[in-house]
Symmetry: C2
Subunit: 345 residues, 2 copies
């Protein structure tokens, strides 16, 4: 017999206590808790009163043990600290709360996911489903997940995998729109700084840029397309390079806001003005984009909404017990601030 003496004193009240206090069997208490229709109104009220009075809160472990479900989902992310992921999580949080689920957080901290059994152990650690925000393609895990028929959703994932359920944004269209906007402003000499090219989103954004340029018959200048990596310092350095050419661009389109911020700093350091001398446009619409002077015109990604949609999909799968496939792409939107102006003025 286990020592039931020094059990956590925080969850002391059980349904048995409630049952005794309310003068019913503990099965009835269970029914009340689970909103079973088969309880007389009067009894239900009485039990509820006792529950409140005694401060009863169900024991999760016991519930999970018998029901086989934990009402927890696992969220696997590479790292925190990027505003980007925070936004997505906010969306996840919202839907989780209304659906009464909890979230376990797992971070890979950029290191490649360790053992091949990692995901497997996540599953076994007792979550009902998994949301993965892993830009790089973790192909083998997805395979395992699929073969186990375990509910999962990918967020903003850009790998080879195209079977599992996923939600992303219209990277191609967003970049196309931004480029078209610059062109509409009269710009022809538009430089582009890419993201990390091993990511699908970077490729899509580049493709969107190229497509718009092509559409308006503006020839691409090889030197004006610089390979970046989403880091601010890279934006800075790239802008310096671009501005050192005798043939300078009049607008710079960075594949994310952080690089655009770096571009803005570089332009300032050179002694040029934004948007007076050069227009700058970013991608993501992170919080800081609206904080700079001038405000950064950028392509908004509906990150919060992506988190919400993903969560909704996951919950649906978990409740219905069926695995879906197919990717949702949420629309991006151009946010006009003050970092671009028409050219020539």
């Amino acid at each position: 017999m286990p020592k039931n003496s020094e059990k956590s004193p925080y969850s002391s009240v059980t349904i048995i206590d409630v049952a005794r206090e309310a003068g019913v069997s503990y099965g009835t208490v269970s029914r009340v808790i689970n909103n079973s229709p088969n309880v007389k109104m009067e009894t239900r009220e009485r039990v509820k009163d006792v529950i409140n009075r005694m401060g009863f809160v169900g024991n999760r472990s016991a519930r999970s043990l018998v029901s086989g479900r934990t009402h927890m989902i696992g969220l696997l992310i590479p790292d925190l600290g990027t505003a980007y992921i925070g936004e997505i999580i906010r969306g996840i949080d919202i839907e989780l709360e209304t659906a009464q689920y909890n979230m376990m957080l797992y971070t890979t901290h950029r290191r490649e996911i360790k053992e091949s059994g990692y995901i497997y152990s996540l599953i076994q650690s007792g979550v009902d489903g998994l949301i993965l925000i892993l830009p790089r393609n973790p192909a083998n895990y997805l395979e395992k997940l699929r073969s186990l028929q375990f509910p999962y959703v990918l967020v903003d994932h850009q790998g080879i995998d195209d079977q599992g359920p996923a939600v992303g944004a219209t990277n191609y269209q967003g970049a196309y729109d931004a480029t078209e906007y610059l062109i509409g402003l009269g710009h022809k000499r538009i430089a582009f700084i890419t993201g990390s090219m091993d990511l699908g989103c970077s490729q899509e954004r580049l493709a969107g840029y190229k497509a718009a340029m092509k559409k308006y018959a503006i020839p691409l200048v090889k030197e004006w397309i610089i390979e970046g990596d989403f880091e601010m310092s890279t934006g800075y350095v790239s802008a310096k390079v671009l501005m050192s050419f005798t043939e300078k661009p009049t607008a710079i389109f960075a594949s994310n806001d952080m690089m655009a911020l770096g571009v803005m700093n570089a332009v300032r350091d050179i002694g040029l003005r934004i948007p007076g001398d050069i227009s700058v446009i970013g991608f993501d619409d992170i919080f800081q984009a609206g904080q700079t002077m001038p405000g950064l015109t950028t392509v908004h990604q509906p990150l919060e909404r992506m988190g919400r949609e993903a969560t909704l999909m996951l919950i649906d799968m978990m409740e219905k017990g069926e695995i879906k496939t197919g990717k949702i792409e949420l629309p991006t939107r151009l946010v006009l601030r003050d970092s671009c102006r028409s050219f020539p003025a």
Copy 2:
């Protein structure tokens, strides 16, 4: 009898299956799992083999139900997306992993914690302990936590509460050191932009600045002390104000890096140079501080280490079952980059 048919197929193997396969009782399997010494080496090996072969992973709910412990801690934070919190979480993560604990994430998303019973429900949601990263003082929750003898640790908390266990940084000393550094460089006209003054850390930093100024008998200029709020845009605006004075400061000390970044942008926009015309110093040492051009000299907060220490404290409390008190203050450290120079040159 509950339907045990469509149970999660992900955790099908139980100790009973293992026991049968290994030809022992399931009590013995349990002993092997829990590293009980009372198992013959040979038996232990055989069971372990079967465990691996069958891919057995213990059922958490069942374990928790009988042991009364979940091996999960709860982390309550205001919001994500601030690099600041990401760093702390990284530290927490590291220690949690070595101690084999999992983390449930709860975000308040800036809104005031809802019902007064919120913390209580966190506790009941089945975590063994709580880490709170809540700059504002949630006094009543702490009281409840203490009265319940529930293990918790505060991180970087700056409220009235001084009883519970907490880990923070030497805000006063850090600000003092930074100010002293500027003075040592020859600066006398040093402006200061505060953080949100309802936070203890902001007050401590201001006090550190004032103390250093006093120590070197430099009179404070009221107009040069501007009340800020940790936002980049506020740094920008404040710097513009400061530079509009006929009597201008030669150095600006911002209470955090984000505001310092705003200051740098403003100075650039005015057409002045950093550090040529004006020195800038920040606080926090966020990732971006090393990414700017020039690099931002700042006061490093050992955020990751704060997370680690807090976690260690919490684990200790949970394992020993005793509540400790007392705050740990981890030392800050001045990080010299290129945003300050001696004055006059």
